[in-house]
C-alpha cells in the first residue's frame, strides 16, 4: 500500500512537471517578458532608429537582432573545436513580437498584409549570406550576401532574394531582385510569439525555417 502511494505521488509529480513544461516555451508571453530588457518599454517605434536614450547612447531595439548559422550553432561548435571548417550559411534578422496582434491578414491593420512586401523581420533588411554556392528549387545562388524578403499570402509565402544590401527593410527595390521562391505555408495551432528564423538540417543541406504567429514555412537549400 505504501509502495502504491509512493507510485501515485511520483506519477502526480511527473504530471505536474508536464503541466509546467509549456511555460518553458518561449511562445509563452511571461517567459518572453523576462528576456526583453526593460529599456525597450520607453523606446521609440522600431522604424525610427532612436539614437539617444537617458544615458546618451544607442538604446536596445524593441525587436532585437539575432543571428542563425548553418550548421546550427556554428560559433559554439567552432569554439569547442568540433567544426573548424567554414560555415555554410548565416542569416541576420530582427525579431518582432506578436504582442496580441493578428500579424497576417488582408487589412492595413495587419502587421503583414497579404500580397505586400514584408522585410521578413524588423528594422534593417534581413540579410542572408552563403559561404558556398547554394541551390534553391534548381536555381544556383553564388556564395555571397543577399537581402531576403517575403510576400505573404494565406496559403503561400513568396521568398525573394535581392542584391540591395545594407538597407532598411521598409524600402524594397524590386529591380534588384535576383530570385523568387514560392513556399507553402503551414498553419500552426500554437502561437509563435517571436518571429524566428533558423536552419534545420536536411538531407542535402538545410531548411531555413521562418515562423511567426500561426504561420510557418521552410525554404529548402542544398549546398
Amino acid at each position: 500500500m505504501k509502495f502504491k502511494k509512493g507510485c501515485f505521488l511520483y506519477v502526480l509529480l511527473l504530471c505536474c512537471c508536464m503541466g509546467m513544461l509549456p511555460s518553458c516555451n518561449n511562445e509563452n508571453p511571461s517567459a518572453f517578458d523576462k528576456t526583453v530588457p526593460k529599456e525597450t518599454a520607453t523606446q521609440q517605434p522600431p522604424y525610427i532608429p532612436a539614437l539617444m536614450n537617458d544615458s546618451g547612447y544607442t538604446p536596445v531595439d524593441r525587436s532585437p537582432m539575432d543571428m542563425a548559422y548553418f550548421p546550427a550553432d556554428y560559433p559554439t561548435l567552432r569554439m569547442n573545436g568540433i567544426n573548424t571548417g567554414s560555415p555554410l550559411a548565416r542569416v541576420i534578422y530582427s525579431r518582432p513580437q506578436k504582442n496580441g496582434r493578428t500579424i497576417f491578414g488582408n487589412t492595413e491593420k495587419n502587421t503583414c498584409q497579404y500580397g505586400k512586401e514584408w522585410r521578413l523581420g524588423a528594422n534593417e533588411a534581413t540579410e542572408i549570406e552563403f559561404f558556398t554556392t547554394a541551390r534553391i528549387q534548381n536555381q544556383k545562388l553564388p556564395a555571397g550576401r543577399y537581402i531576403i524578403y517575403c510576400i505573404p499570402y494565406p496559403e503561400k509565402w513568396v521568398i525573394v532574394f535581392n542584391s540591395e544590401l545594407f538597407t532598411w527593410g521598409l524600402h524594397i527595390n524590386p529591380e534588384k531582385d535576383i530570385a523568387r521562391f514560392e513556399l507553402p505555408v503551414t498553419h500552426t495551432t500554437n502561437t509563435i510569439e517571436i518571429f524566428t528564423m533558423e536552419f534545420l538540417p536536411a538531407t542535402k543541406g538545410a531548411n531555413l525555417l521562418m515562423a511567426w504567429d500561426h504561420n510557418r514555412t521552410e525554404l529548402p537549400i542544398s549546398f
Binding site: 508536464m18 544615458s55 538604446p59 531595439d61 569554439m79 548565416r90 541576420i92 545594407f166
Partner: protein
C-alpha cells in the same frame, strides 16, 4: 503497477518530446545589434541621404549592467573579454582602414578587449564566426591598440558600440556601465 508506471512514463516523455519539437529559439538575453558608419546608413540609404560611402559595420550583443559592477568585478582587469556577449563581436570594413598605424584590409574581423582600470586594449583578430573569447588566439591578431578609459557621469545600462565622425576618420565609441573608450579608425 510497474507496467502502469512505465507506460505513464513513456506517455510523459513523448509529450516532452512533442513540446520540444514545437520550440523555436528564444530571444537572447543580451540581444544583438548593429551599428554602421555612416551612422544609420540603412535609413540614410532609403531616404537617399547618403553623403559618404559605406565604411564600417559592427555586429555585437548587448549585455546589461543589471545592478552589477561591470569592470573590475564582472569583467576581471587584464583578462580577454569578447566585447559584448554570445557570438564574438564582428567588425566589417568596406574599404581599407588604418588602426594604430596598421593597414587593415576590407573584410570581416572579430573584436576583443582586455580591460584595465585606466585603459582598454582593443584587439582585431581574424578568427571568424566563433563564440565569445573562449578560444581567443593572439597569433591570429591583426592589430591591437591601447585606448584611454573615459569616466562617464551617467550609467550606460546596455553595452553600446557606435561610430562617430572624428577629425581624421571615425571613432568607434564603446560604452558600458560608467566608462567609455573611443577606438580611432582612419580611412
Amino acid at each position: 503497477m510497474k507496467k502502469l508506471l512505465l507506460s505513464l512514463f513513456i506517455i510523459c516523455m513523448t509529450t516532452v518530446f512533442a513540446v520540444a519539437q514545437n520550440k523555436v529559439p528564444a530571444v537572447d538575453k543580451s540581444p544583438m545589434d548593429m551599428s554602421y558608419y555612416p551612422a544609420g546608413y540603412p535609413v540614410l540609404k532609403i531616404g537617399d541621404k547618403v553623403t559618404e560611402p559605406l565604411a564600417a559595420r559592427v555586429i555585437y550583443s548587448r549585455p546589461q549592467k543589471n545592478g552589477r559592477n561591470v569592470f573590475g568585478e564582472l569583467l576581471e582587469y587584464g583578462k580577454v573579454w569578447r566585447l559584448g556577449a554570445n557570438e564574438a563581436t564582428e567588425i566589417e570594413f568596406y574599404l581599407p582602414v588604418t588602426i594604430n598605424k596598421v593597414k587593415v584590409k576590407k573584410g570581416r574581423y572579430t573584436m576583443y578587449c582586455i580591460p584595465y582600470a585606466d585603459k582598454w586594449t582593443i584587439i582585431l583578430n581574424k578568427e571568424l564566426d566563433t563564440w565569445g573569447s573562449f578560444r581567443y588566439d593572439a597569433k591570429k591578431d591583426i592589430v591591437r591598440m591601447d585606448v584611454p578609459v573615459q569616466k562617464l557621469t551617467e550609467i550606460t545600462e546596455s553595452f553600446a558600440m557606435y561610430f562617430e565622425k572624428a577629425t581624421a576618420g571615425v571613432g568607434l565609441n564603446i560604452a558600458w556601465d560608467d566608462v567609455k573608450v573611443i577606438l580611432p579608425i582612419n580611412f
